[in-house]
């Protein structure tokens, strides 16, 4: 990626349109590649869009409706079209009336007209039913697509569970207990470092939910330097599970900590530790 991830502040500035065009273009390029920043920015854009509802209400000009429909190609000036259609039909029916009336009388003609009207009404209802069915099929198709996406996510989660289980059983993995830095706090989770899969898992419970604009960030210390392993958020229940690929060049670690940083994560560790992986309680 060409620039670091967005902070909440930058996402807000982008959403409200207060950044210079060049910066906007640069951020847009980043957003094409970074799903988490894109999601944060979309939420900010939804918030910014609400401001439009504060504009004093003005009634749109009455002629605008027709102009819009004509420009969209929706209205073949419906009234004119209808008059034209009905006019042609009326002319035909009138001619028929004259001819038929001469032979069979007005009563029979009236019955036929009523039959035609009924038939026309039935056809209209059928068209409406078909349209409704088409929309329902569209809805069902979309629902199916959502279900497939959910299924994919569940499969992905199951694969993650399997990988975590394999890691916990593997002799190539370190499993360290994770403690809160508060005095007397008991173990709240595990940090699993699998050299074989080159992956790290952080699984913990009893985490507090962070306010908007903040995130948990995992760091591994190696050679006296902290390397970011990424950011994660706790679920409302306090549970958090985070997995990531070990960054290239980071073969092992001396300690691991979790800090609270600004949303989007920090390139360098700035917050104080809230959780530590206790290597003295390392299990292999």
């Amino acid at each position: 990626m060409n620039r670091p991830c967005l902070t909440q502040e930058i996402a807000d500035e982008f959403a409200i349109g207060s950044l210079p065009v060049m910066v906007e273009a640069e951020l847009a390029e980043h957003l094409r590649e970074c799903e988490s920043c894109l999601e944060m920015t979309r939420a900010a854009q939804r918030l910014a869009a609400a401001l439009a509802l504060t504009a004093p209400l003005a009634r749109s000009p009455s002629g605008l409706r027709r102009r819009t429909f004509v420009a969209a190609g929706v209205a073949r000036t419906r009234l004119a079209g209808r008059l034209l259609r009905y006019g042609s039909a009326a002319a035909g029916v009138a001619a028929a009336l004259l001819a038929v009336g001469a032979f069979t009388g007005m009563v029979a003609v009236r019955n036929q007209v009523q039959d035609l009207r009924q038939e026309n009404s039935n056809l209209g209802t059928q068209v409406e039913d078909l349209l409704s069915q088409k929309i329902e099929i569209l809805a069902l198709t979309r629902r199916l697509s959502d279900e497939e996406r959910t299924s994919d996510e569940l499969q992905q989660a199951a694969r993650g569970d399997r990988d975590l289980l394999l890691a916990m059983l593997s002799p190539e993995a370190d499993v360290a207990e994770v403690f809160s830095v508060e005095p007397g706090a008991s173990s709240i989770g595990r940090l699993v470092w699998d050299r074989d899969q080159k992956k790290v898992w952080f699984v913990a419970n009893r985490l507090r939910s962070l306010p908007a604009g903040e995130t948990y960030q995992v760091w591994a210390s190696a050679g006296g330097k902290y390397h970011s392993l990424g950011t994660f958020n706790a679920e409302p229940s306090g549970f958090a599970r985070y997995e990531t690929i070990v960054p290239q060049g980071l073969e092992n670690y001396e300690s691991a900590v979790v800090t609270i940083e600004r949303a989007g994560g920090a390139p360098e560790r700035t917050g104080s530790s809230v959780f530590v992986a206790d290597l003295s309680r390392l299990r292999r």
Binding site: E9, D12, E13, A15, I16, G17, S18, L19, P20, S36, E39, R42, A43, Q45, R46, L47, A48, A49, A50, L51, A52, L53, T54, A55, P56, L57, A58, R59, S60, P61, L64, R65, R67, T68, F69, A71, A72, V74, A75, E128, L131, S132, I135, E136, L138, A139, R142, R143, D146, T150, Q156, G160, A212, G213, F232, N233, R241, Y242, E243, T244
Partner: protein, 221 residues
């Protein structure tokens, strides 16, 4: 990152609601008036011009008002309103329900189109955007609530009231900075020059304003 949270269920919810569309009876336009925005968009994708008419009647005033607020020119606001509805009819697939509510998306489209109009005309609005009178509490009584379906009308009215209340609770300076950026299309630097305030001050006002709005509206947007 795989564990950033659960997938946003808003799209799924919209589709479930769509599945509950009532069969049209009698006047097809009357039946569609009860449809949700998302259902109407599905129907528009199926080239249903009645659905387009209902959506137009529901939001034309809001769109026109927002465009007028940005452009301060009735004719340009009409052009923008026409253009966004024509684009909606021609490219309904550009709305993706899973990403959020139709209304906020459409308002965002309107605002961006209006700002584009200002820039295309090469006459950036360097004027101060008109400030809503702090004492205009009666404005809340005539908030946009178009449409024929009482339920949708009430929902839209309530949302507008909430947004207005949230914005009116912002300190004047923060509200002004947000409005100059959003409705005036001004960058922070331009707002700084216009108001003779340091750039950092403007950035702070926008940041704090957005934070407060987020807290006030997070359950509705």
């Amino acid at each position: 990152m795989p564990w950033q949270g659960n997938p946003d269920p808003s799209g799924v919810r919209s589709i479930l609601r769509t599945g509950e569309i009532a069969r049209p009876l009698g006047d097809p336009r009357a039946a569609r008036r009860e449809w949700t925005d998302e259902s109407l968009m599905l129907a528009i994708a199926a080239r249903d011009d009645y659905a387009f008419a209902v959506l137009y009647d529901r939001y034309a005033d809001l769109v026109y008002s927002a465009a007028l607020r940005v452009l301060a020119d009735a004719q340009l606001a009409e052009d923008v309103t026409q253009d966004v509805f024509v684009r909606l009819w021609r490219r309904p697939e550009s709305f993706i329900s899973a990403r959020g509510r139709f209304l906020t998306w459409f308002m965002s489209v309107t605002r961006n189109r209006a700002i584009d109009e200002i820039r295309a005309l090469g006459r950036r609005h360097r004027r101060e955007a008109p400030q809503p009178d702090d004492s205009e509490s009666d404005t809340c009584l005539r908030i946009a609530a178009p449409g024929d379906d009482p339920l949708i009308e009430a929902e839209l009215h309530e949302l507008s009231v909430r947004v207005r209340a949230a914005v009116s609770e912002l300190p004047r300076d923060q509200r002004r900075a947000l409005e100059l950026a959003y409705f005036g299309g001004l960058t922070q630097q331009e707002i700084s020059e216009l108001s003779h305030e340091p750039l950092g001050t403007i950035k702070t006002r926008i940041r704090l304003g957005m934070q407060k709005l987020r807290r006030s509206l997070q359950d509705r947007i």
